[in-house]
Assembly symmetry: C2
Homo-oligomer: 231 residues x 2
DNA sequence: CGTTAGGTTGAAAAGCATCAACCCGTGTGG
DNA sequence: CCACACGGGTTGATGCTTTTCAACCTAACG
């Protein structure tokens, strides 16, 4: 049982390469947790006592604005880590986390993580590298929000998630459409319309299956200026 | 001379509290550099050989998209650091940097920074904390881009930069309006119009001077839903 | 005193949200 | 087994928001 979870731990980029002794030490305080879809993992502004490694499923990080709007900040999946951002600083969470699907997590006390980082130089530097790459991903997101239109963001998202299956290039949406929309900073209705518009640009929609028929055309949508009419 | 620059170094949150010995070590390899407004500091995708501490002036971090659009990712000012994000990982810069005003920087070889971080545990942990807070700021930015309209982002920006001067609450824009616009993810024309619209919501514009006449009204703009008509 | 960069203004169009209706597959209780 | 409700998704009509393009203004400067 414990072996099973520790495999999840070391499969996570953040903890892979950790000395067996350290792994064992973490596993002594690690607790497996399950959440149903929609269940709250932790709240914005709550104390960051625990960090999590995702063993399976999807977790959404979000913020709620004063007027009740919700902003989806990031989505995380298997072997990614959640809640470290504030846990490492012994602060309150700067976002809320919610299960976007059934998911299993490994909860780790932040105190133990900090202690380990203080002792294990190698681990500390991995934490830093990990944080830096998270930062870079946020740069990507800001760039796309500031320079791309909704249709371009959708096209880019589809291309990122397109996989070749039996000779066809198919996009399996990693989570429900309403979450995809929130992730891209648009409303579900707009996503629906945008997908319909992309049928003229290399996309095929056959009852809930999305297929990239012409990759070049789709990439063209991303490249082209909004000014030029791809209408 | 060297003393002068080292004062700038230790005034930076990232390096304050560094052992005098380490400061001296860094100052041996540090080089002061000057840039005129608009000059390039480093290019996106160039090797991150140097990191910078800002001694004076403003630096903008930006990205250029394939189709030639530019996204302003962040603005940095005195005693903030620039270029560490990639320098610490020995990678290429994930954004370009340009002087937004005349500015003086202190350039530090990334190799030396990495060596110092490897030796000085305290410094390494400060680097991590610094990166985590940068990450949190990016969360803020994404949140505001995804949930607030242009007028709300402008109002929030004005309130953040409002200072009491001689009994009045005045906003001195930290940099030119076109940069403010880019920073908020809108076009200069839109910023101009939004400022005009905010005259009905607690803002006064007297020939290039911006005054917050009614703070509550402005905060109301941020709180209110787009649905409700504050027209 | 003309030039220029930064900013403003206007009219028109594009982009996206909103609200409401509708569709459809799934599950549930009578 | 069927009617029904429900969640997720789509579609249409409409309106607000923001961009675009162009003209114009104005303070700074050679």
């Amino acid at each position: 049982m414990t072996i099973h979870f520790s495999e999840g731990l070391i499969a996570s980029p953040m903890f892979s390469g950790l000395a067996p002794k350290s792994v064992e030490r973490l596993m002594r305080v690690a607790r497996p947790v399950r959440f149903r879809r929609g269940e709250n993992i932790f709240l914005h502004q709550s104390r960051a006592d625990c960090c999590y490694v995702i063993l399976s499923g999807w977790v959404k990080l979000y913020r709620v604005t004063p007027n009740g709007n919700e902003a989806l900040v990031r989505m995380h999946s298997q072997f990614e880590t959640v809640g470290f951002c504030d846990g490492l600083r012994d602060q309150v969470h700067s976002y809320g986390a919610e299960a976007a699907s059934i998911c299993r997590l490994l909860s780790l006390p932040t105190a133990e993580i900090r202690a380990l980082a203080a002792e294990d130089q190698e681990f500390a530097s991995r934490l830093l590298a990990h944080t830096l790459s998270a930062l870079e991903q946020m740069f990507d997101q800001v760039e796309s929000l500031k320079t791309q239109t909704a249709i371009q963001r959708v096209a880019a998202f589809l291309l990122r998630h397109a996989r070749r299956v039996e000779g066809r290039t198919v996009v399996e949406l990693p989570f429900e459409k309403s979450l995809v929309a929130a992730h891209l900073g648009i409303k579900p209705e707009s996503l629906s319309r945008v997908l319909a518009r992309l049928k003229a640009h290399g996309l095929a929609l056959n009852q809930s299956e999305i297929e990239v028929v012409n990759r070049d055309l789709l990439e063209g949508v991303i490249r082209s200026d909004p000014a030029d009419a791809w209408a």
